[in-house]
């Protein structure tokens, strides 16, 4: 990314994401009836800024749509349209389309204009409606044909006043896609304006820089509005143009912001068209309002990762230091020991804070789900509302990114299968509008995300029937309710009667389950017939650390993810049955599971003949596969910092990653799933290697 233009472009798109978020927030507030003037402004500003940026990058399609959207929003902002639910729905669609267009622009593709032509037409109709409204006669020197509209303001009728406004755009004003004409039009809308223009420099046409602004305007406005209203017109171009608002004659002193001394009384009612500085009492453009929002810094993810690594290193170093202090025989009440204790505390605080940097609120993810709900409910013709709880809960950025697909699938499932049709809902005495609730919360060091619906709940008889039909359970098997619900997660299970557009594309809940598992998470389902279904996902706070069991295999120390271990066993000879020439099965209560000698599997030593007294870790995989892993000793259970192996070396069969232990040594983190599947496929180790050299 050495090209500065690329960087600016990239940051524009990041900004777009933020603006779209603000846009949806605003619409949400408006739809809940909370939309005051400022909310409308926020929405308008978001669309306007996207349009501005898009203009600078020549993204015509985006500019065009944003413009239509903006015009419609502008009408709302000016109070010319009373917003009802229909409008809000339209604006939400507009927001979604805008997001699509932004995405297409980012990828350099075009969105098929016909996909939003209808919406576009509706938006245009909204702004056109306004333009056609009866209007006062206006002075229109630019020949724009616009119609000023008398506005209702929330204060009493003010005495008319005359205001002289000078307005000279900077180059940036044009570059950011602003249009002076719109500003002039907005001024005219405040009253009756007389507009004259002048050249800012007396340059001949040949000498003019085609990209530099040479025009300035002077507007004499006969208005009842307060100065602050006029200043609002310049809100979006503040800092990228020169403007001065001067009251030349008036009686109104209500506005406390304008400590206006009246202009010279000699000034005629119609001031000369070109006046450089008529009044001595100019109201300067107001300083930008202090930003009420939390200020943020955009940081390259690589830098944060580097910091995370360094802190991981610090933690390791600290534990090495503690170890050597203990070995040196320092008594626990000495200054060294207490200093070390403080150091330990500090290191932990730093580690926590650094991990927090990577954490982001789930809000952006939840907003995307809002769209899924809107689209999915429209597709199946059900009326569904999304309730969101705990959108400020923070999770690791990577986790958020990788949650989008499973969540989408779960929500679609809820709408398609969970929520009943309006008739059914009415019949069972429920509100016609179904509710899908998406919630996030922190629960004992993990993040809990729940998707629940108030639908009909799981039809267990049907689930059972399908499972039997597909041979997933035998007809005589007795299953508890929870076990029946669990069948939904089995591969190849889909309850949809017919394949609908939403779900039933062969991608089932098993895919959801495995993608959650790949994030170190667990998923569970709970359902009450007639009252709905709740899917709960429990996730680790970060992908950077892992709860693991530190084990020894031959001379090597390894880490097994704690989540994969269902129990630990001491092996007894009578529980082991030979199975083929060199395989064994272990009897665990009433099941037999394959026994795998970890050290042999990893090529550390030839397989053991006698496992008596060894330790077995019973591994349960997400797909139901079980195996017992033979290890030499269990050393510790602790949180480890995950270090990838792929970048520095490459992927290693059966190994997920590496970590650094307290003694500074690297320990490998096992990937039990890969290990077991490889063993099951009977793949011999790629290169059986003697390890006598690795002292």
């Amino acid at each position: 990314m050495s090209d500065p233009m690329q960087e600016i472009r990239a940051s524009f798109f990041i900004e777009c994401d933020e603006l779209l978020e603000a846009l949806l927030d605003g619409l949400e507030a408006m739809s809940n009836g909370g939309g005051d003037g400022e909310t409308v402004n926020v929405v308008f500003r978001a669309v306007h800024s996207i349009k501005g940026g898009a203009g600078a990058f020549g993204l015509d399609q985006l500019v065009e749509f944003a413009h239509a959207f903006e015009s419609a929003m502008d009408a709302v902002r000016a109070g010319q349209i009373v917003v009802d639910d229909h409008h809000i729905a339209l604006f939400f669609q507009g927001g979604d389309t805008l997001a699509d267009l932004v995405r297409h622009s980012r990828e350099g593709t075009e969105l098929d204009p016909s996909s939003y032509a209808e919406l576009r037409a509706k938006l245009d109709a909204m702004s056109a409606e306004v333009a056609d409204a009866p209007s006062a006669p206006s002075a229109d020197p630019a020949g724009d044909g616009f119609a000023p509209i008398a506005l209702d303001f929330d204060f009493g009728p003010d005495p008319e006043r005359r205001v002289l406004i000078t307005f000279a755009p900077d180059t940036e004003l044009y570059q950011s896609g602003n249009e002076p004409r719109l500003i002039l039009r907005a001024l005219n809308a405040l009253g009756t304006a007389e507009i004259t223009w002048s050249l800012t420099e007396n340059t001949s046409l040949e000498q003019m820089d085609p990209e530099a602004p040479y025009l300035a305007w002077e507007i004499t406005l006969q208005t009842a509005s307060q100065i602050s209203k006029i200043e609002e017109v310049f809100e979006f171009v503040d800092g990228i143009c020169h403007y001065q608002i001067t009251e030349i004659d008036g009686t109104d002193h209500e506005d406390p912001a304008s400590s206006v001394t009246l202009g010279p009384e000699s000034v005629d009612d119609t001031p000369p068209p070109v006046v450089k500085q008529t009044a001595p009492t100019a109201i300067q453009a107001p300083a930008p309002a202090p930003n009420a929002q939390k200020s943020t810094v955009r940081v390259d993810l690589d830098r944060i990762d580097r910091l995370v690594n360094l802190v991981g290193e610090l933690v390791i170093n600290q534990s090495m230091l503690s170890q050597s202090v203990v070995e040196a025989g320092v008594a626990s009440h000495t200054a060294v020991a207490s200093g070390l204790e403080e150091f330990l505390q500090l290191t932990r605080d730093i580690q926590d804070s650094v991990m927090m940097i990577r954490a982001q609120p789930v809000k952006s993810l939840f907003q995307r789900m809002g769209r899924i709900v809107r689209e999915a409910s429209a597709d199946v013709g059900k009326s569904v509302r999304l309730d969101v709880i705990g959108e400020h809960t923070e999770i690791d950025k990577t986790v958020i990114e990788r949650l989008a697909d499973p969540l989408t699938h779960m929500i679609r499932n809820s709408i398609d299968h969970g929520i009943e049709s309006s008739e059914q809902r009415r019949a069972s005495g429920k509100d016609e509008t179904g509710v899908v609730t998406l919630s996030a919360s922190h629960r004992s060091g993990r993040v809990l995300i729940e998707v629940s619906d108030d639908g009909g709940g799981i039809n267990r008889e049907k689930v059972r029937e399908i499972a039997e039909k597909k041979g997933l359970v035998s007809p005589d098997q007795v299953l508890s309710d929870a076990e029946t619900d669990g069948l939904l997660f089995l591969p190849g299970f889909s309850t949809a009667d017919q394949v609908s557009n939403l779900s039933g594309r062969g991608v089932g809940m098993d895919v959801v389950k495995s993608s959650i598992a790949s994030l170190g998470g667990r998923i569970s389902i709970a359902s009450t017939p007639g009252h709905g279904t709740k899917l709960s996902i429990s996730l680790p706070l970060t992908l950077a650390v892992l709860d693991g069991m530190v084990i020894r295999s031959e001379t090597e120390t390894l880490v097994v993810p704690l989540g994969a271990i269902s129990e630990t066993l001491t092996l007894r000879r009578e529980d082991i049955r030979p199975y083929g020439p060199d395989a064994q099965l272990l009897r665990v209560r009433d099941t037999l599971v394959p026994l795998m000698d970890l050290a042999a599997q990893l090529g550390y030593r030839p397989p053991l003949k006698d496992f008596e007294g060894s330790i077995g870790l019973l591994i349960g995989l997400e797909d139901g596969t079980q195996a017992a892993l033979v290890v030499d000793a269990i050393e510790d259970q602790r949180q480890v910092v995950i270090k990838g192996l792929e970048q520095s070396y490459g992927s290693v069969p059966g190994i997920a990653a590496a970590t650094i232990l307290g003694d500074g040594q690297i320990a490998l983190i096992l990937d039990p799933g890969d290990l077991i599947h490889r063993a099951a496929k009977q793949t011999p180790p790629a290169t059986p290697t003697p390890l006598e050299g690795a002292a």
Binding site: T557, Y649, Q665, I666, P690, G693
Partner: protein
């Protein structure tokens, strides 16, 4: 003879026609090798490695290099010239090659040579050995033959890893 003197003679001989290059020389399996000093990141003492399952025998394993996982390659085994187990006085030269960083286990690090690049000769191709595959050049310095390693070929290939 000191390094400075030798450099001077070299300068005179080449009459400033060729670019000067700097090589770090070291011993592996009783032979003298060199790498371009620009690819050397650091030199460190031997530490115990964590072996990687199913890795080729010349990959000792990985070590902790200030928080990053560094693979260590046994150069003598890689070049198939010796199969000595590592000793505490061995050294690890951390080098960058083809976008990756690896450690090379060597017997000892000797010194730094500055010589004109035109004194480097292409390694001769000899039947019965693929030694030249790992070399980018050879040069004679005071009766010593120094073999300049081609670092990219020393790296394990992907199919050797998994």
């Amino acid at each position: 003879m000191s390094l400075a003197q030798r450099t001077k003679t070299d300068d005179l001989q080449s009459a400033n026609t060729a670019e000067q290059i700097e090589l770090l020389t070291f011993h592996a399996g009783q032979q003298e090798y060199a790498v371009d000093i620009m690819s050397v990141r650091e030199i460190r003492g031997w530490t115990k490695t964590t072996s990687l399952p199913h890795a080729p025998s010349f990959v000792h394993g990985v070590i902790n290099l200030r928080g990053t996982v560094l693979p260590v390659i046994d150069l003598a085994r890689r070049l198939e010239i010796s199969d000595e187990p590592p000793q505490d006085r061995d050294a690890i030269i951390v080098v960058d090659a083809i976008g990756r960083t690896v450690g090379l286990r060597v017997d000892s690090v000797s010194d730094i040579l500055t010589l004109p690049s035109d004194e480097l000769r292409l390694p001769p191709e000899i039947a019965g050995t693929d030694a030249q595959d790992f070399l980018s050049a050879i040069t004679l310095i005071d009766e010593r033959m120094v073999r300049v390693l081609d670092l990219s070929s020393v790296m394990p290939e992907d199919e050797q890893i998994s």
